[in-house]
Assembly symmetry: C2
Homo-oligomer: 348 residues x 2
């Protein structure tokens, strides 16, 4: 099985390196052969080729069975609107090129981290949410997106088609059927026309899935409910930008951003990446939490290769690792007295 590794920028390199090691160990133990080949994306791709996602990268991904991605983004671009070529364009491009319309983000709290979050343990305990974030539409891709002539006005376009809503909602409904059969669709239908289309479409599909209990929630309310009472949610489906916001927020349910993996699926080839960014401030120091990437590797084995046992072995290892008290700085809590604070160079 061929895996293309798009390490990207910042801590992307170190976390995907660790995941690759772990996948190799799993491969040996269970008798599979994984072939890894690196390709460029983001700032590092711009440096080397001028493009944030060169054609060679797209070709490499298309020729492989799955893609493991680190993270993209560098601060030098963030405050400089004149740079027309940006690392994030590479990420958006590879998502679009591979047709990855569905970004699956499971939010699960490891028992060991119950006290790590800023949220009270009794609020968190037992929460288990899976997000379906639409990933190739909405305001991330709509056109026109431009400045006016003298640069004093800018527009972006939020566009959704019924088909785009249906295909992501279908995945969410199907997931709900395998879980607690509750689906919450998040939009801003009291203001946005695209949200009214979104809500109407999800609502129509309830006929296909009569067993699923469907609720609709406005994004502002959802941002509040998610931390007020996360246990009320089972499956959440939402658009590209709302999903971006809510899943980052939901990382506090899992204790830290450094814990959350994601799977992006669509046509055929799946892409797996942590939901955290490139965190250039801590890059190269060996202190980044690799768990989000490692768990993305577990999702890869499960979803793209159908290797459920192997996937569970990784999740079990992460659990064990936490039980033994190993922690990166982002998940150290004052309550865990015997924390073994560590740097990730020791974790490979």
């Amino acid at each position: 099985k061929k895996i293309t590794v798009l390490a990207g920028d910042g801590i992307g390199l170190e976390v995907t390196g660790i995941t690759q090691n772990i996948l190799e160990i799993i491969g040996e133990r269970f008798g599979h052969k994984f072939e890894f080949s690196p390709a460029l994306i983001g700032h590092s791709a711009i440096e080397a080729t001028g493009a944030p996602c060169p054609q060679a990268t797209i070709d490499a991904c298309n020729a492989s069975d799955a893609v493991l991605l680190g993270a993209v983004g560098m601060p030098m671009y963030d405050n400089n609107p004149n740079l027309k070529v940006r690392p994030e364009q590479g990420l958006l491009k590879i998502r679009k090129e591979l047709g990855l319309f569905s970004n699956i983000r499971p939010i699960k709290l490891f028992d060991e981290l119950l006290y790590t979050s800023s949220i009270k343990p009794e609020i968190l305990q037992g929460s288990d949410i899976i997000f379906f974030r639409e990933l190739t539409g909405g305001i991330y891709f709509g056109t026109p997106r431009e400045r006016n002539e003298d640069g004093t006005e800018a527009i972006d376009t939020l566009r959704y088609s019924k088909m785009e809503v249906e295909r992501i909602a279908r995945q969410a409904f199907e997931s709900a059927m395998t879980r607690r059969k509750k689906l919450c669709s998040v939009d801003k239908a009291n203001v946005l026309e695209s949200s009214r289309l979104w809500r109407e479409t999800v609502q129509e599909m309830t006929a296909e899935f009569p067993e699923v209990e469907v609720t609709h929630m406005f994004i502002d309310n959802a941002a509040m409910q998610l931390i007020r009472d996360p246990k009320q949610f089972d499956v959440i489906v939402t658009g590209n930008m709302f999903g971006d916001i809510l899943t980052d927020e939901a990382s506090q349910i899992a204790g830290s951003m450094g814990m959350l993996p994601s799977a992006s699926v669509g046509n055929t080839i799946g892409l797996y990446e942590p939901i955290h960014g490139s965190a250039p401030d801590i890059a190269g120091k060996g202190i980044a939490n690799p768990i989000a990437s490692v768990l993305s590797g577990a999702l890869l084995l499960d979803i793209s290769f159908g290797l459920k046992e192997e996937s569970d072995a990784i999740i079990g290892a992460v659990d064990q690792f936490l039980k033994e008290g190993y922690r990166t700085l982002d998940i150290v809590s004052e309550d865990t007295a015997e924390d073994k604070r560590m740097n990730t160079e020791q974790t490979g």
Copy 2:
């Protein structure tokens, strides 16, 4: 002094009723005469006149010194995209007509509610944030906002001009100067063109306010940081929709949505409303928390009438009320053993 009261829908009527009573008491005590006149908005305006914000309402607001608003919205509209006339249009219209481009949302935790939130008390203690949400631009107002011919596709437009960013940012900078001199501007400049204009404009203004320490944060990260470590923030400035989302989320910092007031200011006449919605499910039961509306009344006295002492008297009364253990259901915590649970009919 003339105050137009737009009670609106759901609990809007009961909470503005209580606020009006309190303002009358304050008026008597301090020797001011406040004249209240009701006008229609939202669902109740649609029922009576066909329009969610009739011209008579706009005229009444323009002829008064300040506006007190309850809330708008009813569930019968939410799942029915065919209804072209909606309560929320009334709210958006009055904001636009009165030129209320700046929505000020202070997030302050009353000591008594330290244990009410889902967030840990040690994370909350000492947090004190003020939001400046742009209120008459962005994706709430941009055109085109429409369906295609066969209704299978919908678009909304996110539009910002430099002028719109500047005027809200200026208020935020000025507020920061009177506080801890820290300003965080929230955008999604790594993806959106309008956010790049936003960031560039705020960045240019730093020259005018050299003492203010300015940071820029992506909306996804901000949604996470707000609950991970709210104390890092002083003043936050952001666009219409991001502000909508973040301030609802931030209500958990203050213990409950039922605690947060807001002031909308712009040209001349200010409008004051709780950040919560019309909560039709609890309307008329006398259990709604009136504090957000009452504190909106305090903001009205302070900002529109310059009556600082009178405003502080209201805030002090709320504090006292909480100290005595009075609670609506939304702010009951298990830790307050001697809660006097009550219904708000007793609070007038």
